[in-house]
């Protein structure tokens, strides 16, 4: 059988202007992980990093990132081929729910010296380094779209959103970039 073609919503897009660069994220594994306390340690072991317990923080190891989203919710992402689902499936201690959302979400990287200004055109959060340091993550809004914002560097963020919102988020940030 012929190979099915994967078409990501932001595929092939690129934008750079006025100190802002937008790049689509590569395809990756994404899990919405919900768990009771008893399961946290085992899940961490299976994934290969400790699930962060402090609100708004993340942990990262070998390209696997676990972001604290809510008190029993983590957004776990890893490069394609990591096999997160299979690893998690092996955990037998405690109760949890792992749902793959690798196609539900898509995303982009926004970087550059005006990246914060562009984000703050639509995102009402304080993105200063003291309040939202490198490694900080949160679900929030960019204008009318819900996103997960994750700071990867002083001037670089990962923006995750649902796939049908990605065109809007991309275009909003483009418009924001020229006014940043």
């Amino acid at each position: 059988m012929a190979n099915a073609l994967r078409i990501q919503p932001l595929e092939d897009r690129v934008y750079g202007n006025n100190g802002v660069i937008l790049q689509p994220l590569e395809a990756c594994e994404r899990i919405s992980l919900r768990a009771e306390d008893k399961a946290i340690a085992g899940l961490g072991k299976a994934i290969g990093l400790a699930l962060p317990k402090k609100p708004g923080t993340s942990s990262e190891k070998n390209g696997i990132i676990a972001m604290w989203i809510g008190p029993d919710e983590w957004f776990v992402t890893a490069p394609e081929g990591t096999g997160l689902e299979a690893k998690i499936d092996k955990v037998k201690t405690g109760l949890y729910s792992a749902v793959s959302i690798n196609h539900r979400n898509t995303g982009l990287t926004i970087s550059g010296k005006n990246a914060v200004n562009a984000l703050n055109s639509g995102c009402p959060r304080d993105l200063s380094l003291t309040v939202f340091p490198v490694g900080a993550c949160s679900r929030t809004m960019i204008a009318k779209a819900e996103v997960i914002l994750y700071r990867t560097d002083e001037q670089e963020f990962r923006v995750e959103c649902w796939r049908s919102f990605s065109d809007y988020v991309w275009k909003y940030l483009m418009d924001a970039a020229r006014s940043a």
Partner: protein, 998 residues
């Protein structure tokens, strides 16, 4: 253009002001060209060219001149255009900087500024008293539509609307800071500098192009030995060099909202001749500050005396600004009428600039000796305890008459300009917007900030601290309180001018006995007489007086008029001012353009447009799209020459005869996971779920507690502890929200989690007798036979090599599949099915055909056939209620007497007696069309279509007690006919449901 030869106006004073004669621009005003210096406001440029007459007043169309030099300007409102598409009405000429090529037009006049037919209103003034709208256009009632309303509409409203779409773009910025300083005058700059030294984030905003406030117009003051403007410039450059400081000139703080959120409007390109189109025209700032320091200064009040509105009569401080900032004199023969010290310095400045000052007329008897000495030194005549009681001059003041305040002798003085000052009103607008409470201060005749509700502090003139040294000390204290650290040293202040003395209310000649027009509010044409009339007519509350007279309303927000209006009303009511009270100041402080408020959210960004993974395929295949919520859904796929009707008919027939392919990706999906998943589903849905086997699907109905249908959808059991729940397209967010609500707040101990997977899965519906045959060769690992995979079942396997949740479900009544694949593969899988199916008659169908086919089967659409007052029984899906369940959301609501008794509107099918007539959705249904009015309505049509497959129209309707009225004839009255219909079962097609097994 060789610079020195350009004439920028006869009224320039060489060496005065901060503008450079070497940099000039040209502009037009009412079609005539003028030159100006770069940095001029439109007002200063016009005055330099000898133009005072700039507009006609709103009600009486009286000639009006430039009154102020800042945002309080009520008269000089212009239409400004850069080009045809960039036109903005009601721009204050005193704030708009002139740019090369600007076209300015006066407003509210016809045919010209000098000759305006509307001016007859002035002569008819007695017909335009306070509240004239309410009084004049009372009766006859019949005159409203044809006569009064068109007249009022034409006369009402200031300025013209732009006629073309705005080609510019606008921006927004959410910003956070520890200290926001509003106002860049002496106090604001001092506070900002002190706060900035802490390293904390400071934003300072000022509405003017250059920070410095009144310092820029002050010819004598010295701070740390520097002139006011030099000192301000040095502080601004210090602040600009700091990383933690954002300096925002041309930026108006226009709104103060909860929890220290202040909105700013930054005018980015309004002053530029050829702005970079990449720049936003304006930028909205939404600033969340830990501390707000209000240093908004004070606004000079005019004096209320007869005919105080002639062109050439202006505020004393404005003249000081025009002279000292722009090097422009407002006239050659300028009298000054005041009750405040500050106007004296303006007279001195003008005299020193070579302007004749025929007299300083001061209402007060006791005048500071130093002022008197300086006047004598300059040879200026001083009239103490005198008042201006009359002015003359139609398009420009040419003579004033003065009288002693307590006397009757009069003297005429020829002038070409009269300056006035009634003292200063602290600008408490933002403080008031923050819901702070003000208190009246008798000594200064002002309302001052009293009780704060937000974390802000007022410093300087806006706090009533008119003395500059004290104001700077206040600013430093505020900064220290905001950021901590050590106390900072205030700059040394020398030669600060006095702002002592004030007058509120009407002056001599404008008293209750005088039949004169003495204006309180220039923008709304409200006179002292109008306010008194309002009080005489029984309006006691100042809020009512304001609305009745329009004093202090509209874009002006009473910047100059409020205190006078209040004092006059208080006098009439014979009450002290604090008992009458101050009206509330509203946002915005000055008008804000729609562009700024809209910021990025226009055009493509007006709202989110959601597209499914198969959108591109549908677009390529000629689909017409319809908006469903934010989604663009393929509506129908017209072939050449087909209209919607023909396309939909073809799509339905093809699906029922062979097969159709439909994009159902927008369906909401929720993954319900955990050992308590069944328990949770039992609670959320009316249906019982315990017996649903793994691998099977069931149609579920969800109610609210009140028993009304909330949502529906097919639910698949993927594992003992895992459900794949689908919801309606529009219902997805609210269903998940309701589920989370119950789970988190009512049943937090239940071990189950919910995850939205709406967009994880692309959903390809393949429906029709050939559906299985089409997809079979693409599917791996699933036995598609009826025996192995009956109707309402789900299997996991692969399709076209992609993992799938394959459901045998049908919303068409045909045997069919809904193929869930990870979304990014949706289009590829769709194309594979299409490639195989097309030769077999597979036809893409859109939402319209989907609607027709589901209606042929009597399947409801929640939100179309239900409306929030329909129970499952009403909707003929009562079978979906688990009769043995002890509890579910809606169990009690459904038992309510009104929901189970007779008289419910119930969902039925309708057949028109004439099979060709298609009813209108929403049409009302009656028993007897000849019943006398009022006609009892017994129901309405909820869904109605032409069914090509059945060869007649079909409809669904909610009809009172409809379930027990099968076969009865009802009537649908329409404007031109009454349509006869018969009640029938809503299942029009394949009532036994045999085709789903086909």
């Amino acid at each position: 253009m060789s610079a020195p030869s350009v004439n920028t106006g006869a009224n320039r004073v060489a060496g005065k002001g901060r503008l450079s004669p070497a940099k000039t621009v040209s502009f037009t005003f009412d079609g005539k060209s003028y030159n100006a210096m770069e940095g001029d406001t439109l007002a200063s440029a016009l005055l330099a060219n000898g133009i005072h007459l700039v507009g006609r007043s709103f009600k009486y169309h009286r000639p009006r001149g430039i009154l102020g030099a800042g945002p309080e300007e009520p008269n000089a409102l212009m239409g400004i255009s850069r080009d045809k598409a960039r036109f903005q009405p009601n721009v204050r000429a005193t704030c708009q900087e002139v740019f090369d090529g600007m076209d300015a037009k006066s407003q509210n006049r016809f045919p010209s500024l000098e000759f305006d037919v509307g001016a007859v209103n002035d002569g008819l003034g007695r017909f335009f008293p306070a509240g004239f709208y309410y009084k004049t256009f009372m009766w006859p009632q019949s005159a409203w539509d044809k006569l009064y309303e068109p007249i009022i509409r034409r006369a009402a409203g200031l300025g013209d609307s732009p006629t073309e779409a705005d080609p510019d773009h606008y921006a927004n910025r959410f910003a956070h800071c520890e200290v926001l300083v509003v106002g860049g005058g002496a106090a604001g700059l001092t506070a900002a500098k002190a706060a900035a030294a802490s390293g904390k984030r400071v934003i300072i905003a000022d509405e003017n192009p250059i920070m410095g406030g009144s310092l820029l117009s002050d010819s004598v003051v010295k701070l740390n030995g520097k002139t006011g403007s030099d000192w301000a410039a040095s502080i601004v450059s210090e602040l600009e060099a700091m990383d933690n400081v954002t300096v925002l000139p041309r930026t108006t703080a226009f709104g103060y909202y909860n929890h220290n959120m202040v909105t700013l409007a930054e005018r980015v390109t309004e002053h530029m001749a050829n702005p970079d189109p990449e720049l936003p025209r304006e930028r909205m700032w939404q600033v969340r500050a830990e501390k707000v320091i209000l240093a908004t200064g004070a606004i000079e009040r005019h004096l209320v005396f007869p005919d105080n509105d002639r062109p050439g009569i202006m505020m004393a401080s404005a003249a000081g600004t025009f002279l000292n900032q722009y090097g422009v004199t407002p006239g050659a023969n300028v009298a000054v009428y005041t009750s405040c010290d500050s106007a004296w310095q303006v007279a001195f400045d003008l005299k020193e600039a070579g302007v004749n000052i025929p007299a300083i007329i001061d209402q007060r008897d006791a005048i500071d000796d130093a002022l008197l000495a300086r006047a004598a030194e300059l040879g200026i005549t001083v009239k103490k305890a005198h008042a201006v009681t009359k002015t003359r001059g139609r398009l420009r003041v040419k003579e004033i008459t003065i009288e002693p305040v307590n006397g009757v002798s009069s003297e005429a003085i020829p002038v070409d300009c009269l300056l006035m000052s009634g003292g200063w009103t602290p600008s408490v607008h933002l403080f008031s917007q923050s819901r702070g409470r003000v208190k009246f201060d008798e000594d200064s005749g002002t309302f001052l900030p009293d009780i704060y509700t937000e974390d802000c502090v007022s410093v300087g003139c806006c706090n009533g601290t008119m003395d500059m040294e004290a104001a700077l000390a206040e600013a430093l204290t505020a900064a220290k309180e905001a950021v901590g650290g050590r106390a900072r040293k205030a700059p040394k202040v020398e030669n600060a001018s006095s702002m002592n003395g004030f007058k509120i209310g009407s002056s001599k000649g404008a008293g209750p006995e005088d039949f004169t027009k003495a204006f309180v509010d220039f923008q709304n044409d409200v006179t002292a007489k109008d306010i008194r009339l309002a009080v005489r007519e029984g309006f006691q509350s100042i809020e009512h007086v304001k609305r009745y007279t329009t004093n202090g309303m509209a874009s002006d927000q009473g910047k100059m008029s409020n205190m006078h209006g209040l004092a006059i009303a208080a006098e009439m009511l014979d009450k002290p001012i604090p008992e009458v009270g101050l009206t509330t100041f509203r946002s915005p402080y000055t008008p804000v353009t729609f562009g700024t408020l809209v910021e990025h959210n226009k055009g493509e960004l007006f709202d989110v447009t959601r597209r499914t993974p198969m959108y591109d395929w549908a677009a390529k295949h000629g689909a017409a799209f319809e908006d469903v919520g934010n989604w663009k859904r393929a509506w129908y796929f017209p072939k050449a020459g087909e209209d919607m009707h023909a396309a939909v008919n073809r799509e339905c027939v093809a699906t029922r005869k062979a097969a159709g392919i439909f994009d159902a990706s927008t369906l909401g999906k929720i993954e319900v996971v955990g050992p308590d998943a069944v328990k949770f589903m039992n609670m959320m849905y009316t249906n019982p779920w315990d017996k649903l086997a793994v691998g099977r699907c069931r149609y579920g109905i969800m109610c609210r507690e009140d028993g009304f249908v909330y949502d529906d959808g097919v639910v698949a059991r993927m594992a003992e502890d895992r459900f794949h729940v689908t919801t309606t397209t529009g219902g997805a967010p609210r269903v998940l929200n309701m589920m989370e609500d119950y789970l988190q707040t009512e049943f937090p101990e239940w071990k189950v989690w919910l995850t939205s997977t709406s967009e994880q899965w692309a959903v390809i519906a393949v429906q029709g007798p050939k559906a299985r045959e089409i997809i079979e060769p693409l599917v791996e690992g699933i036995d598609l036979s009826n025996e192995a995979m009956p109707h309402m079942s789900v299997r996991e396997g692969k399709i076209f090599g992609i993992p799938t949740r394959l459901m045998k479900v049908s919303f068409t009544g045909e045997a069919g599949f809904e193929i869930n694949v990870p979304a990014d593969f949706g289009q590829s899988v769709w194309e594979a099915i299409w490639e195989r199916g097309e030769p077999m008659g597979l036809t893409p169908y859109g939402t319209e055909a989907m609607h027709v086919m589901r209606a042929e089967k009597g399947f409801i659409i929640v939100g179309q056939d239900t409306d929030g007052t329909v129970t499952p029984q009403d909707a003929a899906v009562g079978w979906a209620i688990g009769k043995k369940k002890a509890d579910f959301v809606g169990i009690k609501g459904l038992q309510r007497p009104d929901l189970i008794g007779k008289g419910r509107k119930e969902l039925v099918g309708l057949k028109t007696i004439d099979p060709k007539i298609v009813l209108e959705e929403g049409a009302q249904i009656v028993d007897n069309p000849n019943h006398p009015i009022p006609m009892p309505m017994i129901g309405h049509v909820t869904s109605s279509y032409w069914s090509e497959v059945l060869g007649h129209s079909i409809a669904m309707a909610l009809v009172v007690d409809g379930h027990s009225r099968m076969g009865e004839t009802l009537h649908v009255p329409m404007p031109d006919s009454v349509i006869k219909v018969e009640i029938c079962s809503p299942i029009f097609y394949d009532p036994k449901g045999e085709r789903t097994n086909g």
